[in-house]
């Protein structure tokens, strides 16, 4: 049952991505392609080259190109920096991996700190309990003082 649910979940999540790859829209590509002169994504730019790239993307979509094909053609013309996201190969892979490594390290450090803090609390608890049991002489004097205060 769990496997079936998992498979359905994977299909539900993968379907929009596959559709976007096969039938990309100008709107989504505008957010994934950079304007080479203004160094912002196309959707943030009205520069002449941004408008030209928009026209090119529309023409390629109309011609039936997939998202990957359009991006590959743009990289041939403008180099890899035309893509808003770094590629998932070679040195650029670091940009994808490092945030997760940092997140993992942060979680590990946090877990270790919590564990240490809770151990210290446990160690301190008997000491507090010990402090509550007073010296018999001191306890007797305290009782006398309290009796006098009540009286």
């Amino acid at each position: 049952m769990r496997i079936v649910v998992g498979l359905v979940l994977v299909l539900v999540l993968a379907a929009p991505a596959a559709a976007s790859e096969r039938h990309p829209t100008l709107g989504e590509l505008e957010g994934e392609v950079m304007c080479p002169t203004c160094k912002t994504t196309l959707d943030q730019s009205t520069a002449p080259i941004a408008n030209r790239i928009r026209r090119y993307i529309s023409a390629r979509i109309a011609a039936g190109d997939t998202k990957s094909e359009i991006k590959r053609k743009l990289v041939i013309q403008f180099g890899p920096s035309v893509l808003a996201e770094p590629s998932k190969h070679g040195f650029n892979l670091l940009a994808w991996v490092l945030p997760f490594v940092a997140l993992g390290l942060g979680a590990a450090v946090l877990a270790w700190l919590v564990w240490r803090w809770s151990r210290r609390r446990e160690a301190e608890t008997p000491a507090v309990a010990g402090a509550a049991s007073l010296d018999p002489e001191l306890e007797r004097r305290l009782d006398d003082e309290l009796a006098r205060f009540d009286g």
């Binding site: 080479p36 002169t37 002449p48 080259i49 030209r52 090119y56 041939i76 013309q77 403008f78 180099g79 890899p80 920096s81 035309v82 450090v109």
Partner: protein
């Protein structure tokens, strides 16, 4: 306690490492060559695909000639009005060992070729899609024009924006005399 100091030391090391990376990046940022004030730095080398004919053009192959290096793009309006001026200079001075080289950057090759045909440019033109060569020269916009002497050194000032006939002639003459 030892672990605490170890963790603190590691944090300081990470912060110092990141700071070092930032300093390195700022120090090694390509701001392009410095011109003017009598400086004659070497023209940054390049070898780029030609737009007007198959093959590549290596700047080093033009050593011994004066090179007028013009950075342009087909979508740039002033590039259109200066193109006939560059063609005229090429025709006038090529007999004296002067070559005009157009570097089309941040542009579609198809658009660039149409531009070359439309303005009947006969001087060599190359394609620098990502604009990497322009960055080496410190190009900040289009068009920009540089003058390289026979020894491969940049001479005079760059011309930012549309180049006038007078500036073109003056730049070429300075490079020829250098």
């Amino acid at each position: 306690m030892r672990l605490k100091y170890g963790l603190q030391g590691l944090t300081v090391l990470v912060v110092l490492g990141l700071l070092g990376l930032l300093i390195w990046k700022v120090a090694h940022q390509d701001k392009g060559v410095k011109l003017g004030g009598g400086r004659t730095p070497s023209a940054p080398a390049f070898a780029l695909t030609r737009l007007d004919t198959p093959g590549r053009l290596d700047l080093a192959s033009l050593r011994g000639k004066v090179v007028v290096l013009n950075f342009w793009a087909s979508w740039c309006v002033p590039c259109k009005s200066e193109a006939p001026r560059l063609e005229a200079a090429w025709r006038r001075y090529r007999g004296q060992g002067v070559v005009v080289v157009g570097v089309d950057a941040q542009d579609f090759t198809g658009d660039a070729r149409r531009f070359i045909r439309r303005y009947k440019l006969t001087y060599p033109n190359v394609h620098d899609g990502p604009g990497n060569v322009g960055s080496k020269y410190g190009v900040t916009g289009f068009p920009e024009t540089y003058f390289v002497d026979r020894r491969g050194r940049l001479v005079g000032d760059r011309v930012v924006g549309e180049v006038s006939a007078a500036k073109l002639t003056a730049g070429i003459r300075r490079a020829l005399q250098s």
